[in-house]
Structures are given as C-alpha cells and as structure tokens.
C-alpha cells in the first residue's frame, strides 16, 4: 500500500483568526441552542433575531439622564419579544419574527406642515441632531401591563426647535411607514393604515417626550419601532408611534388611529390614569412583566411633572 505524503497546505486554505474565532462562537451558540432546545425553551426564543442581528449595533456616547427611574429594568428578551405592533401582527409574540428582515435603511423622515422650511431628512441626520441619552422609563400599555425600558434618544423638542414650526402650529402629528409588503399586518384592515399619532405642541415640547432610536445601549430592534419612534412615558403605549416617516405640524388636532378605530375607548390624550377606566376594563392596576402580583397604576404613570400641562382639564372627558 502506498502511503502518500500529505501535500503542503496552501496559505489560502489556512483559516484566518477571525473566522476561526467565529467558528468557535458558532459552535458554542449551536451547542447552547441545542441545550436550550433540550431544556424545552420555545423555538420562538431561539429564532429571535435580536441577539444576532444587533451584536454590533452599540450606540456610542450615550449620556445619563436625570429622568431615569431606578426601578428594575425589564429583561431585553421580554421587551424585544412581546410587542404590540399591529403593522406586523396582532399577536404580541409575532412581531419579533415577522420584523426580522424589515429594512430600516435607507429611511427618510419628512418634516412638513406648518414649518418654516419643509424638509426630507435622512434618518441618520435626524439621529445625529442631538446627544443621545439613556432614559430609563416606565412604559404602561393600555391593556394593563407595564415594563421598564432603558430607551436611547433625545427630547423631541430638540428636533422641533430645529424644524422651526410657525406660530399657527398647535399640534404635531406622527405617521408610521405604510409598507404592506414588509409589514404583513398592514395587508389587513385591522386598523386604518398608516398609523397616525399626535401630540399637542406643549406636550411635544415637554422634555420627557423622547425621540427614540435605541434601547439597552443598542440600536432599536425592528420589532420595537426601528429606526425611529416616540416614547411618551406618561401616556399609554399606543401613543408612542413607531417606525416614523413623517412629522407634521398642524393647526387642528390630529385624529389618531386608535381614536378613529374606537372613539369611545381611546382618546386623543390617552394619559395613564388609574381613575378613568377603559370602558371594558379597569385601569387601576397593572402587571409589571416579570412580577406575579399586580401593582397600582400611578397617575400619569408616575410622571407628575406633566400634570401642569393638563391643569383645569376634565381628564374624564379628555381621556
């Protein structure tokens, strides 16, 4: 029997260190995935794109904010796998998978209506308008659950100041992208697309109102409203429009999507208010994800600093 001498390995076939390390990482994660599957972890969790797709999406230069709460932060896994995002699905567990390939670049944001100069901005220009801050906010859904999320963004008023709205502008309207090809939920008529939300100008100028593009120090996952969303911690979650493509300044009050869908159930203001029930369920308590017992819901979700915006208003009428 002839034993052939092994040929020299050409250098082109030697695996580079980076690849080699990647392979190790891949094997490790594959082993973990296997172990997890054996342990009975739902496939959905494994299929979650967030951990992989966002590995290198750290946001640099994030400043701390005095608006942040010290309450326990909800795990990233929960915030990125439990999403009310009807553009993708009415099932809260589905957007994480369905938004996986959603394209957030190129992306433009149109600023129009009653402004000095109408403009179409690249989303990356918008994001760089001000220093990113981490705002750890409580977030209360109208359905009665809540989370604590370290969002990344800056006060909406930074953008508004640069947009130079005219004196006549009394409201700001946000519109979510309409793209049924990418957003399967928009292929049905569950809501009147595109999703529209709005704020009164003084609400929009309040420093708590956050123009958001990240969470947990990283770029927003698609299912959490990438590339650009609002976060309004004193209002029910649905007021915080996601995947924003247009910010418009108007004289008359915008008709927000949920208000159009069920005017007796969802108002324009939709401030978190334990004393005003949803017509079909109580708003007095909420379940913080991860907690067993319910906790009392706080007026304005505990953000008392906004109370002066509504002084003299009957909040039962303007719910």
């Amino acid at each position: 029997m002839l034993i052939r001498k092994a040929p020299d390995i050409p250098s082109s076939e030697i695996t580079g260190k980076g690849l080699y390390l990647n392979r190790r990482k891949f094997l490790a994660s594959a082993a973990m995935a296997g172990a997890a599957a054996v342990a009975g972890v739902g496939l959905r969790e494994l299929a979650s794109p967030s951990a992989v797709a966002l590995a290198n999406a750290k946001i640099d230069g994030i400043q701390k904010s005095s608006f942040s709460t010290t309450e326990t932060i909800t795990p990233f896994k929960d915030v990125s796998n439990y999403n009310n995002y009807y553009e993708f699905s009415t099932d809260k567990y589905e957007p994480a998978g369905l938004a996986k390939d959603f394209k957030t670049r190129p992306w433009t944001v149109t600023i129009d209506g009653l402004v000095k100069k109408k403009q179409v901005l690249d989303v990356d220009t918008v994001i760089k308008m001000a220093t990113p801050e981490e705002r750890i906010y409580r977030h209360r859904c109208v359905e009665g659950w809540s989370i604590v999320v370290p969002w990344v963004g800056f006060s909406l008023n930074e953008l508004i100041k640069k947009a130079e709205p005219l004196g006549k502008a009394k409201f700001v309207e946000f519109a979510t992208v309409y793209d049924p090809k990418q957003m399967p939920g928009q292929q049905g008529r569950v809501l009147d697309w595109p999703y529209v939300e709005g704020l009164r100008m003084d609400e929009a100028m309040h420093p708590l109102a956050l123009l958001c593009f990240g969470m947990y120090g990283e770029v927003l996952p698609n299912q959490d409203g990438a590339p650009l969303r609002m976060v309004l911690p004193w209002k029910y979650g649905f007021k915080s429009a996601k995947a924003i493509v247009r910010i418009r300044f108007t004289e008359s009050q915008p008709v927000n999507t949920w208000n159009r869908s069920a005017p007796n159930e969802y108002g324009f203001y939709s401030n978190v208010n334990p004393n005003v029930d949803h017509p079909r369920w109580s708003q007095a308590k909420e379940r913080r994800l991860g907690e067993f017992f319910k906790r009392p819901t706080l007026m304005f979700n505990g953000y008392d600093q906004v109370a002066s915006l509504y002084s003299g208003m009957d909040l039962k009428k303007y719910f």
Binding site: A39, G40, V41, G42, R44, E45, K77, D78, V79, N81, Y82, Y86, T90, K92, Y93, E143, W145, V190, L191, S261, A262, D277, R280, W281, S282, R287, L289, G290, F293, K294
Partner: protein, 212 residues
C-alpha cells in the same frame, strides 16, 4: 369506535393543552406575560371543547357514526374543566380573590358579565351529566336543561368578541363555527315542519341518550 382503549386515549389527549401549559410554565417558556398566556389558552380551549361537544350530534348523523355520542359527555366535561381553570386564573391570578373588584367587574364590564354567565350556565350541566341525573330528571327535562349549552356557547363567543381591541379574526372564527352548528339544529328542527312529506322522514331515530 368500539375498541376499549380508544376512550382513555381521547381522554388523555384532552389533557394535552393543560400538560403543554404546565410544561412550558415549568421551563419558563410561557413568554413575557405567562399569566396572560394561561388566561388566553384556557379560554381558547373552553370554546374549542364546547364547539367539539356541539359538533357531535350533527357529525354522528351526517356521517352516520352513532358511537360518537359516547364521547359527547367527556368533551362537555372537558369544556367545563377548562372553564374552571380559566375562572380560577381570573379570580386568583388576575383579581387575587378581591371580591369587591370582582363584583365591580361582573356588574360593570360587559365582557366579564357575559363570560361569567357562560361559565355559571355550565355548572348545572356538569352536575347533571351523570346517568343517574338523566334518569332522575327524565329524558325530556334533562334535554331541555342541557339546551343551556347553546346559550353558554353564544355567551362564550360574545365574551371573546367584546374582549379584543381591534382584531376580530379569531373570535369570528369561533362565531362562524358556532353559527354553523346552531344553524344545523335550527334547520333539522324546522325542516320536518316545513316539508309536506310525512314528518319523521328526516327525523332521526330516537336513541337512549337524549339529544342536545
């Protein structure tokens, strides 16, 4: 199916939804809001079992499989079983036995009112599901009482319709199946009366278990 092992197998199969919930809960795989998952899952299974129960009579007549009747009580009792779990989830994990809050719910919130009604109506049916009770009440009266399942099923579907925020797809699927099943009964009740040919032509033969 007359084979003796079949009934226990069906019985165990009916426990799979509960076993799945238990297994997932044990492994922490119920997602971000486990209590919501438990509430919705048990609720779904009540409706499914009610519909399966209501499908027995039409099925056994349409496909001429009289043995199916022997599974009706079991499916009905499983509907009740999941209803008890659903109700327990509500009074324990949602309301934490706060009677005041529950009373407010039942009187103020129509989706709770109608759901609660549907549940309460199932109780006498579960209690009188035994052979002894059929005998004691007599076929006719037993049958009349057990027609409450129609009301309970409608209440259950309305409970679901009134609960959702905007997406009516799932509750309407239940509503569609239920209306077919109730429609069958209306037709089979009305048809012999309308037709000129001798009554009884379409009337099924009476069997020892009363019709519902």
């Amino acid at each position: 199916m007359k084979v003796s092992w079949f009934k226990p197998v069906v019985f165990l199969a009916c426990l799979i939804p509960l076993a799945r919930l238990g297994w997932k809960a044990y492994n922490g795989a119920l997602g971000a809001n486990p209590i919501e998952v438990i509430t919705h899952s048990t609720g779904d299974w009540i409706l499914r079992f009610v519909l399966v129960t209501l499908a027995i009579t039409p099925l056994r007549k349409l496909i001429r499989q009289p043995w199916l009747i022997r599974y009706r009580r079991m499916f009905g009792l499983f509907a009740f079983f999941y209803a008890v779990l659903h109700f327990l989830t509500y009074i324990w994990l949602d309301k934490f036995f706060d009677v005041h809050e529950m009373l407010a719910d039942v009187t103020k919130r129509r989706f709770i009112t109608v759901g609660f009604t549907g549940f309460v109506l199932l109780i006498p049916l579960a209690l009188t599901s035994t052979r002894g009770w059929i005998r004691r009440l007599g076929g006719k009266r037993w049958q009349a009482l057990h027609r409450l399942i129609y009301v309970s099923a409608v209440a259950g579907v309305i409970h679901y319709v009134w609960l959702v925020k905007a997406d009516l797809h799932k509750p309407l699927e239940y509503a569609l199946v239920l209306s077919l099943l109730l429609g069958y009964r209306i037709v089979s009740w009305a048809l012999p009366k309308i037709k000129t040919r001798p009554a009884g032509a379409l009337q099924p033969k009476r069997v020892n278990v009363p019709e519902v």
